[in-house]
Symmetry: D2
Subunit: 346 residues, 4 copies
Amino acid sequence: MKNVAIIGGTGYGAVELIRLLQLHEFMHIKKIISHSQYGEGIANTYPHLTEFIKEPMEELDIDRLKEEVDIIFFATPAGVAKDIIPDFQGSSVQCIDLSGDLRLTSAEQYKEWYGKDPAPQETLDKAVYGLPEVYKEQVKQAQIISNPGCFPTSALLGLIPAIEHQVIANQSIVIDGKTGVSGAGRKQSAMTHFSETNENVKPYKIGAHQHIPEIEKYLSDIAKDSITTTFTTHLIPMTRGLICTMYAPLEKNITSSEVIDLYESYYETHPFIRIRDEGTFPTTREVYGSNYCDIGLYVDQRTNQLVVESAIDNLVKGAAGQAIQNANLMNGWDEKHGLNTIPIYP
Amino acid sequence: MKNVAIIGGTGYGAVELIRLLQLHEFMHIKKIISHSQYGEGIANTYPHLTEFIKEPMEELDIDRLKEEVDIIFFATPAGVAKDIIPDFQGSSVQCIDLSGDLRLTSAEQYKEWYGKDPAPQETLDKAVYGLPEVYKEQVKQAQIISNPGCFPTSALLGLIPAIEHQVIANQSIVIDGKTGVSGAGRKQSAMTHFSETNENVKPYKIGAHQHIPEIEKYLSDIAKDSITTTFTTHLIPMTRGLICTMYAPLEKNITSSEVIDLYESYYETHPFIRIRDEGTFPTTREVYGSNYCDIGLYVDQRTNQLVVESAIDNLVKGAAGQAIQNANLMNGWDEKHGLNTIPIYP
Amino acid sequence: MKNVAIIGGTGYGAVELIRLLQLHEFMHIKKIISHSQYGEGIANTYPHLTEFIKEPMEELDIDRLKEEVDIIFFATPAGVAKDIIPDFQGSSVQCIDLSGDLRLTSAEQYKEWYGKDPAPQETLDKAVYGLPEVYKEQVKQAQIISNPGCFPTSALLGLIPAIEHQVIANQSIVIDGKTGVSGAGRKQSAMTHFSETNENVKPYKIGAHQHIPEIEKYLSDIAKDSITTTFTTHLIPMTRGLICTMYAPLEKNITSSEVIDLYESYYETHPFIRIRDEGTFPTTREVYGSNYCDIGLYVDQRTNQLVVESAIDNLVKGAAGQAIQNANLMNGWDEKHGLNTIPIYP
Amino acid sequence: MKNVAIIGGTGYGAVELIRLLQLHEFMHIKKIISHSQYGEGIANTYPHLTEFIKEPMEELDIDRLKEEVDIIFFATPAGVAKDIIPDFQGSSVQCIDLSGDLRLTSAEQYKEWYGKDPAPQETLDKAVYGLPEVYKEQVKQAQIISNPGCFPTSALLGLIPAIEHQVIANQSIVIDGKTGVSGAGRKQSAMTHFSETNENVKPYKIGAHQHIPEIEKYLSDIAKDSITTTFTTHLIPMTRGLICTMYAPLEKNITSSEVIDLYESYYETHPFIRIRDEGTFPTTREVYGSNYCDIGLYVDQRTNQLVVESAIDNLVKGAAGQAIQNANLMNGWDEKHGLNTIPIYP
């Protein structure tokens, strides 16, 4: 049994970690750290946690964490983990950062897209990008995990097999992202205001989303080529769920059925990827509350384009679930441990 | 390990049973029976079940069921279970009926409110009303369970402590029900049409809901008095969730805090009931996907009324979760087994 | 043509006034006053108003308003209008206050429920409660209108005929209110956060809503008796729409059909009240975007209770539409002018 | 004053026509024709129309229509108007078909995409495609209008200026469509079932949508070149609203600001097109209930792509509103007559 701390206790990432860890037999939540509400019970903010978490949240105390916990999940806003994780380097504590702080290994890029000072380069260099379907071996060896963003998880899982097998061109890739509102977290803004968001589709951060360099970096790594993508994001009137619709020019003469076979074979040993049968496409509801990424594929013969639909629950495979999947791998447990649940439908 | 069959495989009740049974270590889904789609895989209809259920659905075969399964869940529309369950009387198979067929022990009442011929009287007499917070000992001994309706579950749990302790009068009780659309099942109608239901509150079946006699029967049993209630139902633009707001004239001079204490003590040994602190009230989201019934209480001193808010997930505590809770008790397992999960929030 | 000013230019009340006044031939929006954003165009905040309002919002200047406008709508939060309206007393400017500042004629009650200092007594005394279906003659003569709250509009219109005709008792009246989120305005809070509100029913302000004394005051005035009501409010996952379900003990032996006749006759000359046929009930969608109040009635013979469902659009009949209806009456125009539109469905 | 008939009285297209025609001073609804419900009042099905339409719906009678009405709106499913409109050719009755029957002038294409026999070629040849921003002069002269589909309206208005000015290539155009559920009409199906659609994004008809040939035909006409597009459609959990996100390779070195200028100049005399300022994009809510098409533009310099967001209300500019706009032009009235209303927000 490993002891776990969650830093950033009052956000949705933490709440989802708590929900999922309740089903995990080898991890025990020892501490929940909150900068703004330490001393309080988390059930004051989230009454649905009554009966589950009774200890008050605590202030950050790095020395005590080193003594008392084995794994730390950072469910913090951008700009927090980068200043704390370096203190754990050299210790045996495993750090899994759900924020974007360690995803761009270029310090300049981080400054440009996040508008903050980056983590120390040696921390950036040690962090492993926790997309287990692609970097499983590195994850197993990692002490620091940079957990992927929600859009990059969906986009990379949907594109990488086609990139790696040179089914599609490296340029002119279009990614049309659609996300539920919980991706914006619990802070209040026009983006999260019910009356502004309900019965509405709202394009946002067009050409300016911080997930653009993340997607391009890992696609480029796979392709061993410099890939740029046209990426847009749309806010959808739902709480959870994220789907990227992707379009890319075909490099090969290939049918829908052949692409499906190729993806199935690529993900054969990866339990959280489900490839849909020809002519059918995933919906976000079909992965709701689960760690699945469901992928549908279509070759448009008329236009010579590959169309990919890649659906996840942004709070699970796009955040807390993937973090636990990474923790499982880092500790030699079954990758699916605690995550082998059926999506909640309807 | 007990083998389980689910009859009525393509409705939401069955799908929710499958989701919850996946977390249960002592029950194994052996068969899914579907009258309309036997021979097909359930994942054709519900792609989110891919990887979980691979065997095709089967036709009903009572003799084989007697041989091969220990427990049958009836997730069938009204009018089906009543004709099948009698065939299992005398066998060792445990039958749990999620429909309304066995809830009214008066054959005449069933005919009046359901418009169908009732079950045989000896089946009605053998069936135990599976509200474990009230009838736990009977449930433990039962072979046939009549699983309560969604509104009655919420209403009875919210009213019974006050009735039993004569805090409120037996007359002039008002129950204002509010439910998500999944309660109407998967069949298509104006009630379940998105464009008719979204951005809308729709009163329905005013004075004519088949849950009225069910609520009144069990309240009356508790009170040892004939209780009638004014009960209305409102369709809310959400998928899951049900809350009854109840109003009853006080019979005693009592404060909110005293009523809360009384409820807490009444439900002390019942793990799925959570009583809210004074001044706070449950929301349906706070029980989403879970077997909890969360209850908030308020004494309106100005009008001498008790106000109760009682929230459940209509598909869990209002259907499949409660059915599993009953199965746990019937088989001597921990009441919470497979149900000890945190609500999914947000 | 009368010139109009709207004070409180960036809230939903103002935006709805602008939408409705666009259809009005005798009122012209001369000025929009905003304390927080004067100098800016309103289309910066509300791009849907591009092409309609081009002049920048202005700072409050009472002298210029007296010179340049004939009618002022106060779409301001509680506590603003009460300090401004007295400056217009004695002038010819008509003031219509959409906030709660002038609704309680008792200064003590205002202090208690709103937590602020009240308006001067002489302003309170001059203000007419702008519920035209009940106070039409007074409205016609008024210079200052206190526009009713959204819940009181629905509740009073649903109860007054039965109170006035002594169909129901003056005590033990229950009002179960259900409202869309736009009633909470545009400010950001947990109440208006999409992820907290979507797929959720949330009871709020139980026993503490500032509409309680307003409802009771006007019911009591009609009854010439002191009436108290048990009033609860529930936040529904929709933007617009409000419905009160009301329950009251019958004082008379009466059928549903007779109550319906009585209401139809009571509201015969009131074009915005539509009484539903027996056995049918209004939904909020059926009044969406319109100034209607649709009412359904049911006599529960089993429990001797009258059940009333009264649906409005909270931003129209519950705010801006009713304000324009009042302005029409004050100026001798047809009550329906600018408001004779069909609800938007679906 | 012209007399109007609506055929297809019980669908959402008819209901929206009724709503909008209520604001029109020169058209009077003389008849509502319903094949399935003639003899009944439309308010039986749509209670919100009580007080507005009192005459019962009628059976189709072509001779009487020729005598009694001047304009007919066909709000019928595919396959109906094509068999009726030929009977009005040669008469003075103006026919406006909201279905897809006359949109594809190639009889073969209609057969292929709609699976039905096409209209007579001479009817196809006479019908004018009613997209007034492009074909205004032809519309003014037309007797038969083929009213554009909802997706084509959004896509064509968003792409045509760039095509016509050769800003973008004629190939590799991607159109990612997102629509509310009302586009699927009132008939009941899994697509329109609340529990299947709420909290969900559902890709549908990928590569098979009957709007594909319509979009390509009119783009090709403008380009005088054969254009194919990759077009996908996604069902969004909202009732109304449609937005197409479009991506096309740039043919010119151009900035966002220059593209915006070009669109503004292209649509200068077209009152229903609003081009957003640089860096801002329309949301569907901002056109809700109105005849506007709001367009946002962005040049992605990194990938050399033009991104267009084009938002409409699918029932107004995508159906009934555009039909009225066409009727205005055909009859020499102001194009905006009856349509000059502010979107309903929020």
